[in-house]
Symmetry: C2
Subunit: 388 residues, 2 copies
């Protein structure tokens, strides 16, 4: 049957899942962001000693000892290889389930891994590897129900991307892990090195923000303490719909957005994930060749999630652009005169909106959100029986 979130799941699988359909509880708490930040700080020294260096901006000619064109500073790496002016573009990501539906979780994990490669403009993916762990707290029955659905979701998403999964590893762990590796071998003109933003360019975002807020709000439906804090501003139905929208958005590939970057001469791009819109915008700004800054005026957000965020005293940082996203959209720097056409083309090909959210000004390679950004509710109007 086709669910409201747009994916198809067999009745059989649904029946099996009704035995125990929670992937997240109690196995898989999310990693608190402050802990992750502290950890990354803790690893800084090792980084400086050469584990990676995102500051390199070498020319594109392979050398005898290749220097990465894009290193660890951004989420994927672009490395010249020995053969015929080709480049290796790779990314890896793995994390813990954040939605209850294992099939969708597999799709999200795959879309999330691919997104980093797409952000470099590379759309022909040569291979994917899958990284999995089952949870040692699952029963055999849970494992045998859940894991094949995750595999299936991941695999089908890879096929949708025009590639396939030809390797991987599975281990056993207290928490369920799902992730992977995407690899593309590209010619130079298939890649957009994300460093050419110029004053006058505009910023486009291809998916709405708020996935993390929606996922959390949905969990709170089963947590009266938490739910009481937001129930005055949102209905259960609205939370469920936002959750379906978040799942749909996270499982959607950034492939068409990436492909159209070439057609509309994008100057730079990143995808929006764990560090939120502002975090990734700042990181992208830091890597620019010219003296530019990114100024964000508009925040497209899954409908009602801004309201929830405010009701929680902005605990998520959604309106500050620091709320983590999973498998978020592309943040694309485009020539002003091409941006509207880029958005229209995405709408025409995929039926999804994209938004011009900011401008590139002269500045010191930073990014900011203006004081009172315009919140764009996505969708603007709720339509009965339709997701967007």
């Amino acid at each position: 049957m086709k669910l409201v979130c747009g994916h198809v799941i067999s009745k059989d699988a649904l029946n099996k899942l009704s035995i125990q359909n929670k992937l997240k509880y109690p196995y898989c708490p999310l990693v608190p962001r402050d802990v992750l930040h502290r950890l990354l700080e803790g690893l800084q020294t090792a980084d400086k000693n050469g584990y990676g260096d995102g500051q390199h901006h070498q020319g594109l000619l392979p050398e005898s000892k290749p220097t990465p064109v894009v290193g660890i500073g951004l989420d994927s790496c672009v490395i010249p290889i020995r053969h015929g002016g080709l480049f290796l573009v790779q990314s890896t990501a793995f994390f813990y389930p954040l939605v209850d539906d294992p099939y969708v979780m597999g799709k999200i994990a795959c879309a999330n891994v691919l997104s980093d490669v797409y952000a470099m403009g590379a759309v022909e993916i040569d291979n994917m590897l899958m990284l999995l762990s089952t949870s040692n707290k699952m029963t055999d029955k849970e494992r045998d129900t859940i894991m094949p659905l995750i595999l299936q979701g991941f695999k089908e998403c890879a096929e949708e991307a025009g590639t396939s999964v030809q390797g991987g590893q599975t281990v056993i762990n207290p928490w369920l892990i799902v992730g992977g590796v995407a690899t593309a071998v590209c010619t130079q003109n298939e890649i957009i090195i994300p460093e050419n933003a110029i004053v006058g360019d505009v910023l486009v975002l291809t998916k709405p923000l708020g996935t993390q807020v929606a996922v959390n709000a949905h969990q709170w439906l089963e947590n009266p303490d938490r739910w009481n804090r937001i129930k005055s501003v949102i209905s259960e139905d609205d939370v469920r719909k936002a959750y379906q929208r978040a799942m749909n958005s996270m499982a959607r590939l950034n492939k068409i957005g990436a492909s159209l970057m070439h057609k509309y001469n994008a100057h730079a791009c990143t995808d929006v994930t764990g560090f939120g819109l502002l975090g990734h915008a700042q990181n992208l700004a830091k890597h620019q060749k010219h003296d530019v800054s990114f100024v964000i005026h508009n925040l497209p957000i899954i409908a009602k999630m801004a309201t929830i965020s405010k009701a929680c005293g902005n605990a998520f940082g959604l309106l500050q652009g620091t709320s983590a996203e999973t498998s978020g959209g592309l943040l694309v720097v485009l020539p002003r005169e091409q941006a509207a056409a880029y958005c229209k083309d995405i709408q025409a090909q995929e039926g999804y909106q994209a938004w011009i959210i900011g401008v590139v000004e002269k500045g010191g390679r930073t990014a900011k959100i203006i004081d009172k950004p315009r919140i764009i509710e996505v969708p603007a109007k709720d339509t009965e029986g339709e997701l967007w």
Copy 2:
């Protein structure tokens, strides 16, 4: 200072480690093999539905929809790509620490990941990604001491392999995880597709068996119940030396063994890891083009580990070839007249022994160990102050 196991560690690091130098206890139990096997069985259905298929043996010409030359059935994949007759060789592995020294653990993880690519004859590695999780049970101090050493070990091993680490991800997890991804883009003649064994060939093994037994015996030094079961057959000193040998062996790259496969016309190769010598031999046999079987006569084993295995009632399966190895040697199928020279060349270049352990006979693509295999103690004679 240089330790007996051959690696160098700073006094500072040693002092820091003396605060808490156990990576394995209590965070990181190994995954019982039977559980892993059951899990893999549980995933079989998904596999058959296309998650992967190790049975493919297509020709080497890239097609419009590339079919992997080597798929999930072996531990690395070889995939034709769009460009100039090139192939993508990739492998990934991640696991839990099994030695107490974080620096060595980083090296072992790196050598283990690379090993699968080396087994295909590919020795020019284009990139590595690192997969890490810290344990949420570590204190900040433990984390800040241990993680940089793991990173350093991994990075230095990658450099020793002539490549570098240009990406990866770090998460937080109950158990510490360390692993990575190795990628090589190769021309056809840089790869040895492991399917050309013929009757009359011989089998060479490039590292001794028994790493898992040595690691376990070393843990038992701190577990009186377990230690009492083996103390009549081995001294504490012998266990410690075996453990140092195992660490040294696991941290050693299979690069030279892989490189020499080209010089001596190897017909097939696999590396020996989680499924033990026999498991990997059987898997390799299954992938052969000709009607052959592998018969193993000799088992080179880290000194005294066969004795321990017997004292435990063969619980490890070491003499049956089913004892798991980590970062084990290459099992290489070579023309009979080249095998001795191959072994000698490894000895000359690295100072390590390799052994002819079996023969290729006519048969049904299976592998076996003869009833009473000859145990080769490695080293044959213990030399005071020397590891091998």
